[in-house]
Symmetry: C2
């Protein structure tokens, strides 16, 4: 059995006690941008329930054009007001450089990715970089509460990054 | 108290019983690309535990350049092999068009976003579009198991999209 099939079996169990549908707009009016890391269970770590928050995730939890798109839709069409950014300790993005990663792909498949890999060498600095990208974007209307955190994969705790 | 502060209080509770750290590579070797929708609790709906899967999310669960970046890092550096795509019923992306959304931003702030909003008018068709973008990408090495699903926000059930 593939992992996908195993997770589908879990879904059948989940659906058994599911009660829906809930309203489309997030009830807590918050959007979270977090790393895709497997150890960061955003619903668990923030005590979120279904229907409460938009959750946007990618490699690193960095703010690129696609996160600006998602946040613009989240705020403009679905009424969110606060933004929480979450990077974490022991992140894979600390283990390589953009140049190395892109060169390895070019060496293997003959094409250099036209995008930045968004690797970083300091987690807190990159949280601030992501906050700056939000704060400078003309497409995100509500910037009163844009706060960044580092999740500690050893303790499960969030620490706020000072601006 | 802001919602952000409320969620931080929840985090202190979460950390109290947290046991870590777990290894960096996802133990189930799977990456999930899902919509940011608040009603889609990916860990819950798939019965995932901390450490098992990469979770990538954005408005719509669509595959854009940033999801290709994240999936390339997931597979090439962290060993994932299967990909699961999840869109859902009653999606906000069904309620507008790219042209409308971008024009409304241009009217308000004077700048037209240089990115596609990625709205769609049929969920299953857009799941297939996202699968096609993965299958045509030269940067994603493992395409043996790329499967797409629609999550029903009324029942909590996943339905597979035929290719």
């Amino acid at each position: 059995m593939s992992v996908t099939d195993e997770l589908l079996a879990n879904n059948a169990e989940y659906a058994r006690t599911f009660s829906g549908p809930l309203p489309l707009p997030p009830s807590k009016r918050v959007a979270i941008v977090a790393c895709m890391d497997a150890r960061l269970n955003v619903y668990g770590a923030l005590g979120l329930a279904e229907g409460e928050a938009h959750v946007i995730r990618n490699a690193g939890g960095v703010v690129t054009e696609d996160e600006i798109r998602s946040l613009a839709i989240s705020q403009r069409l679905l009424g969110t007001e606060e933004i929480i950014l979450i990077h974490h300790t022991d992140c894979g993005m600390l283990t390589f450089t953009d140049d190395e990663f892109k060169r390895s792909i070019q060496d293997e498949v003959g094409i250099k990715p036209p995008w930045a890999a968004e690797a970083f060498d300091d987690v807190e600095t990159d949280v601030r970089q992501s906050m700056a990208r939000i704060n400078k974007s003309p497409f995100i209307p509500r910037k009163e509460s844009v706060r960044g955190f580092v999740f500690d994969v050893a303790t499960g705790r969030l620490s706020e990054v000072s601006t």
